[in-house]
């Protein structure tokens, strides 16, 4: 479960702080208006309905002074909010000169994450799950391949749209090792509801190990079933959309599956990454995520699909 008000980064903490202040001031104003109205109703209620009781037809100077000072008070409060807003805005925008850069591209309805490294052998592509080192501000370079999406990890940072034709930047950080739930926040079509992203914050060395593993080629199939699965994958429709590093499958239409088994979910958060869920997904992704681009795999036999599942499950 996520919660804007349980922040896990300096950025979301600043925003939560701003919220509590605005709630306190705003709540007081609301209470004030409501109480005044209740008092008025209690004290000056009348049953008379005809036109007889017409009170002072002109407002006394005091009335206007009260309304004017209440308005002036409103202006002061708004100015205070605005100053607070600008200060928080600066906190959010602060970032280091050099930082880990992740190019995050949104697709209908999944996330492609490329870890950009000047050394190409250490660059890699993954999907629907990004790892970051704890306590470091990380740069997300945002793009969209089809329609407008928006990335949102409530515990860490506010959202930023990913707009086709534009590149924008969002800085995130996490101050505790944990799995943070994120999702698409801009309406993007049929499966807007199922477009999750996980942010896994871990200590520097654990992160480095993970990154090194991700940059390596895919594992070789450990058994006969996985070997058959690899062949079926490479020679069948799977390879028209997906890539697996170190094999002949290099298409980029769908998520890169090089280290698929290291991920926590299938279908951008639709199912947990278990063997059973994977097989169900391979048989008929559209029945689990209506509208998904991945078709029902009628061209494979049941045995072949089990082999492919065995192969994918071996891609640690």
């Amino acid at each position: 479960m996520t919660w804007v008000l349980e922040p896990h980064s300096a950025q979301s903490r600043a925003v939560a702080h701003l919220w509590w202040w605005m709630l306190a001031v705003g709540g007081t104003i609301w209470l004030g208006v409501t109480i005044v109205m209740l008092v008025v109703i209690a004290r000056r209620r009348t049953q008379a309905r005809d036109g007889r009781v017409v009170y002072d037809t002109t407002a006394s100077p005091r009335t206007e002074r009260i309304v004017a000072s209440a308005t002036f008070g409103t202006v002061l409060i708004l100015t205070g909010f605005l100053a607070f807003d600008f200060v928080v805005g600066r906190t959010l925008a602060a970032h280091p000169q050099r930082a880990l850069k992740i190019a995050l591209t949104a697709h209908q309805w999944w996330w492609e994450a490329e870890y950009v490294n000047p050394d190409p052998s250490r660059s890699f592509v993954t999907a629907n799950e990004i790892h970051i080192p704890v306590g470091e501000r990380v740069q997300l370079e945002l793009r969209a391949s089809d329609v407008i999406h928006s990335v949102w990890i409530p515990d860490l940072q506010g959202k930023r749209d990913l707009i086709p034709g534009y590149t924008s930047t969002l800085w995130i950080e996490a101050d505790a090792p944990r799995v943070y739930q994120g999702r698409c926040a801009e309406f993007c079509g049929l499966q807007h509801a199922n477009m999750s992203i996980l942010v896994i914050a871990e200590p520097r060395d654990a992160f480095a190990r993970w990154a090194a593993a991700q940059a390596s080629a895919a594992a070789t199939p450990p058994d006969a079933a996985a070997q058959r699965g690899k062949r079926a994958f490479e020679n069948g429709p799977c390879a028209t959309c997906h890539a697996i590093g170190g094999t002949s499958a290099y298409a980029t239409v769908g998520p890169n599956l090089t280290h698929f088994a290291s991920r926590r979910t299938v279908g951008a958060g639709v199912l947990p990454n278990t063997r059973g869920a994977l097989e169900a997904w391979l048989i008929s992704a559209p029945s689990l995520k209506p509208g998904v681009r991945m078709p029902t795999m009628t061209m494979y036999s049941g045995a072949q699909l089990r082999d492919i599942a065995a192969y994918l499950a071996s891609l640690k």
């Binding site: 996520t2 804007v4 407008i148 928006s150 034709g165 049929l190």
Partner: protein, 632 residues
């Protein structure tokens, strides 16, 4: 032997007979269809808007069932998206704006002491365009292709590449067509309010509801063109491969967002300010005193309308625009709440210095204030850019807009119904049923929408057709669903109330609430000619302080006086047009033009446009009688 009193009464009766002869609509089906009576058309606007409101409400109720439980499979994502889009389109374009227009068209001549709107045939025309545009957009459900890209319809999602069916074409063509009605209706209001006020009703004596009508009508004139342009661009891109928004061919999807919100934010005030105008009529009546700071209230209304044009970017804070422009628009968005604050302080001060009568309209008005302050404060919160980044596109915003447009506008409309229904129908509404309806609606509304603030802060995005058990959103969503159904029951009680009170038929009398403005000078319901003698106005609440005298009758023809725009000095009586079938036929021919465009039948579309031009020519054709009598 007849007394002088009897002579006067005889004279008055004869006068009313002459005026009725001039103003009455023929009692046959053609007269019913082609009437230009602003009262008949205003009521039709309100009825039709309520039918659309019920449809939009049913859509909401179905969505709430889908969202009541996690991982629910009642609706497919496609159906959900269509319902979600049509709920927004219906409420924004086919309910709140038309229902407020209906009140405005009904009440404007009565409030300003006139006998008609400035352009009666245009009023008939705009009503039928509104009706047919709504039918046109709802026809999309019958082919299973209702608009499905949200009421804001962002491209590229709405482009032909990602949405190839008729869905978005229904949206674009329907809204361009509807925009004609909205625009001419606004022009009609502006001219009526500026030129047809009773002699002596100088602009500072004008009721506050007229100030809000005038303000929003001006806002409509300036905000509809960007929407129409955007819709036209999108349709050109979808149909004929023009490039406006498609980034792969050099277009820019941000162009849509700017055009849409340059229209969309003023629109929020267009559908909100008239409700504040209604409250500014209702609150003085039920506080038994004039509004505190009348001039400031009027200025606040105008200021909101103006500043409303400078805040559209707050719908786009998360798009990655430069920080400087975000700061500017954040500050502007906070500024726009200042006039709203003035309005609220004015209402509360009026109550403070008055004596509150606890009738049903006043209850709805009080709830409006309580709820609108919540919506206003959450609005100010989202003007703070960093906080907006957290809550935009979440249920927090769903809560915010419903607190303003349902908790505000809808409750204002309910107050308006209970307040003016006796005038419109001539019978009193049952107070017990009215209060029961109010409490159910008040409780239901807050149970439904308050939890959404929390669901949003918990991280639930808007426009999702389902959510998982693990998300933790389930209990708040169940609460919202229950609230919506309580709200619906409360609303139905008002319908029951209308039916039962009509059967009971307790006569309302001219001025059941003891109000001070001119509409209560007429009979309930008003006669065809509204006022037998045009009142000469000397004060803001003429019925309270005797600030009017019965003026000339202008009974030689179908006449209403024209006055100067600011001081309302009598210029001359103008003759108003009679019923015409052409202003009813033209909406139909326009529908043919737009409907044919939808199905790519360009020849029929051209025929529709030619027929529309013919109708317009016949409609405008001067009759010989008119030519002679214009120089009275």
């Amino acid at each position: 032997m007849t007394s002088i009193v009897d002579d006067i009464a005889q004279g008055e009766l004869a006068l009313k007979r002459r005026l009725t002869a001039h103003w009455e609509t023929p009692h046959n089906w053609l007269g019913w269809l082609s009437t230009v009576d602003h009262k008949a058309l205003g009521r039709r606007y309100i009825y039709t808007a309520f039918v659309f409101f019920l449809l939009g409400g049913v859509e909401a109720a179905i969505m709430r069932v889908q969202l009541a439980r996690p991982d629910n499979h009642l609706l497919t994502p496609e159906t959900y998206n269509q319902l979600m889009t049509m709920h927004g389109v219906t409420m924004m374009f086919l309910f709140v704006q038309p229902v407020l227009s209906g009140f405005s068209f009904y009440l404007t001549p009565l409030m300003i002491g006139a006998r008609e709107l400035a352009f009666p045939r245009l009023n008939a025309f705009s009503y039928y365009v509104f009706l047919l545009a709504g039918v046109f957009m709802y026809a999309s459900f019958f082919v299973g292709q209702a608009p499905d890209a949200g009421w804001f319809n962002y491209t590229p999602l709405a482009s032909v590449k990602y949405d190839a069916g008729f869905n978005i074409d229904f949206y674009c063509l329907g809204l361009i067509y509807l925009g004609i009605a909205t625009t001419v209706g606004a022009a009609n209001s502006i001219v009526t309010i500026l030129k047809l006020r009773a002699p002596g009703m100088s602009i500072d004596r004008m009721p506050l509801f007229m100030w809000s009508s005038l303000t929003i009508s001006a806002a409509v004139i300036f905000s509809m063109p960007p929407l129409t342009a955007a819709l036209g661009f999108l349709e050109l891109e979808r149909r004929w491969h023009f490039v406006f928004f498609d980034p792969t061919r050099g277009g820019n999807p941000m162009l849509w967002q700017h055009l849409f919100w340059v229209f969309g934010h003023p629109w929020v005030y267009i559908v909100f300010l008239p409700a504040t105008g209604m409250l500014s009529m209702i609150i003085p009546t039920f506080c038994r005193r004039p509004m505190v700071g009348h001039a400031f209230m009027a200025l606040a209304t105008v200021a909101t309308g103006l500043i409303g044009f400078g805040v559209w970017v707050h719908h786009m804070f998360a798009t990655g625009l430069p920080q400087l422009s975000l700061s500017f628009f954040g500050a502007a968005s906070m500024t726009v709440s200042i006039p709203s604050a003035v309005t609220i302080f004015g209402w509360v001060a009026t109550m403070w210095y008055g004596r509150v009568v606890f009738a049903t309209p006043m209850l709805f008005a009080l709830a409006f204030i309580v709820q609108f302050v919540i919506g206003g404060i959450s609005g100010v919160m989202t003007a703070a850019v960093p906080f907006d980044w957290q809550v935009t596109d979440t249920y927090f915003i769903v809560a915010h807009i419903h607190y303003v447009l349902a908790g505000g506008t809808l409750f204002g409309v309910m107050a308006g119904i209970y307040y003016w229904a006796p005038k419109m129908f001539g019978f009193l509404l049952d107070e017990r049923l009215g209060k029961a309806s109010f409490w159910l609606m008040f409780i239901g509304f807050n149970v439904a929408f308050f939890p959404m603030h929390i669901t949003g802060l918990m991280g639930m995005p808007r426009r999702v057709y389902t959510y998982s058990q693990a998300s933790g959103f389930a209990s708040m969503n169940m609460l919202s669903t229950i609230g919506v159904y309580i709200l619906a029951v409360g609303l139905l009680l008002t319908l029951v109330n209308l039916v039962r009170s009509r059967a009971a038929g307790v006569a309302a009398g001219d001025n059941p609430w003891g109000a001070g403005t001119l509409e209560w000078l007429t009979t309930s319901p008003p006669e065809h000619f509204n006022f037998a003698h045009i009142p000469i106005v000397k004060s803001r609440e003429p019925l309270w302080d005797g600030g009017f005298t019965p003026g000339p009758a202008f009974d030689d023809a179908r006449l209403t006086p024209r006055t100067s725009a600011l001081d309302a000095m009598l210029e001359r009586p103008v003759e108003m047009p009679i019923d015409s079938v052409w202003s009813v036929a033209m909406p139909v021919t326009l529908l043919l033009a737009f409907g044919a465009l939808l199905v790519h039948s360009y020849a029929w579309s051209a025929i529709g446009i030619a027929a529309s031009l013919f109708c317009m020519a016949r409609w405008m054709w001067p009759s010989s009688a008119t030519v002679l009598e214009t120089e009275v």
